[in-house]
C-alpha cells in the first residue's frame, strides 16, 4: 500500500511560508501535512492534526517541528515491536524511525481503512494519531474494542479522536 520515504527539510522560513500560503489548499489534494510538535520545555508533545480523513492514493507527510525532541510515526502493527494491529490487515505497516528536527517521512495510503499510529518515545505521553482512508465500513473488524485496547497506555487510548469525529470534520486538531 505504501511507499515510504524519508526527507530532510530545513525548518527555516521557506517551509513555514509554503504551509501558510493559499497553496495549502492545493496541496491538500495531494499531500497531507502532519506536524510533530512539542512545548519548549518538553511538557507536552503531539501530532497536529491528530486525526485526518484522506482519499485512497493520497500521501501523508510527517515533519518534526519540535526543535528540542525527536519523534517517530509508527503504525500499530505486529511488525513494529509486536504492537497490536490497529490498521487494515492487508495494508503494509510503516515506521519512520527517529526523525530529528526538520526531518520528514512520507507514506502513501492506497487501501481504505482506519490507521492508528504512535510516536515510539512518546506513546506514554499520548502522542498518537489516526488516519481514515476513504470510507471504510463501520464494523470492518479492524478494531474490536477489547483487542484494540490491549497493550496500549491509557494516555494513548484517551487521545485518539473518534472515527465519527474525523468523518464529520475531516481534520481534528
Amino acid at each position: 500500500m505504501t511507499i515510504a520515504r524519508r526527507e530532510v527539510l530545513g525548518l527555516g522560513g521557506g517551509l513555514v511560508a509554503v504551509l501558510s500560503l493559499s497553496q495549502r489548499d492545493v496541496w491538500a489534494e495531494e499531500v497531507v501535512e502532519i506536524r510533530m510538535q512539542g512545548r519548549a520545555d518538553g511538557s507536552h508533545v503531539w501530532f497536529d492534526p491528530i486525526g485526518v480523513l484522506i482519499k485512497p492514493g493520497q500521501m501523508v507527510r510527517w515533519t518534526n517541528f519540535n526543535p528540542g525532541n525527536s519523534h517517530t510515526t509508527t503504525a500499530y502493527h505486529p511488525a513494529n515491536f509486536g504492537r497490536p494491529l490497529r490498521m487494515p490487515e492487508s495494508a503494509k505497516s510503516w515506521d519512520s524511525d527517529y526523525l530529528l528536527p526538520g526531518e520528514s517521512f512520507s507514506v502513501t495510503f492506497t487501501e481504505q481503512g482506519v490507521y492508528d499510529y504512535y510516536c515510539v518515545p512518546h506513546e506514554q505521553a499520548g502522542m498518537v494519531g489516526r488516519i481514515i482512508v476513504g470510507e471504510p465500513e463501520a464494523h470492518g473488524g479492524w478494531m474490536e474494542a477489547v483487542a484494540a485496547s490491549r497493550g496500549l497506555p491509557d494516555e494513548a487510548l484517551k487521545a485518539f479522536p473518534t472515527v465519527e469525529e474525523i468523518r464529520a470534520n475531516r481534520t481534528i486538531r
Partner: protein, 137 residues
C-alpha cells in the same frame, strides 16, 4: 582534639569537591560521561537545556550535565520518572559534581529518547537566572 581532627577532613572534602567541579566545568566532561546525542537520537543542542552529557549507568535519573554553546557548564539535571515518585522508591545519593548552585527549577517532561516515560526535570542551575539565556536556543 576533635576540632583539630575535623579541620583537615573538611579541607580535604572541600578540595575534592573543587576538583570535581573543575573537571566538569567545561565540555566534554571526562568518562564515564558521554554525549547524550551520541547515545540516543536527539539534537546535539537542546533548546532550554543545552548540550547534554550523562553516565549511561546512572539513567534515567542522571545527573545530566548541560553545557552552553561555549562549552561552559550551565546546569546539572536529574530526570525522575513520575511513576517512581511513590512510597516505595526514592532517589538517594545522586552525584552532584557541578559545584555551586544559583537556583533550582522543577518541571514536568512528557519524555524523550533516553528517558521515554513521563518524568520530572530537577535542574540545578550553576548560572544566574539571566544566564539561562545562554542555553535558550
Amino acid at each position: 582534639m576533635k576540632k583539630l581532627f575535623l579541620v583537615p577532613v573538611l579541607i580535604l572534602d572541600s578540595s575534592v569537591c573543587a576538583i570535581a567541579a573543575d573537571e566538569v566545568a567545561k565540555a566534554p566532561p571526562a568518562a564515564p560521561y558521554q554525549q547524550v546525542s551520541k547515545l540516543v537520537k536527539l539534537p546535539d543542542f537542546l533548546p532550554g537545556m543545552g548540550q547534554l552529557f550523562v553516565d549511561p549507568a546512572t539513567l534515567p535519573a542522571g545527573p545530566f550535565l548541560a553545557y552552553d554553546h561555549d562549552g561552559k557548564l550551565a546546569s546539572t539535571i536529574y530526570m525522575l520518572p513520575t511513576k517512581d515518585l511513590n512510597p516505595d522508591k526514592s532517589f538517594d545519593n545522586l552525584a552532584a559534581p557541578g559545584g555551586n548552585v544559583d537556583h533550582v527549577d522543577v518541571y514536568y517532561n512528557a519524555g524523550h529518547p533516553g528517558v521515554e516515560e513521563p518524568h520530572v526535570h530537577v535542574v540545578l542551575w550553576h548560572v544566574a537566572a539571566a544566564g539561562e539565556a545562554s542555553v535558550a536556543k
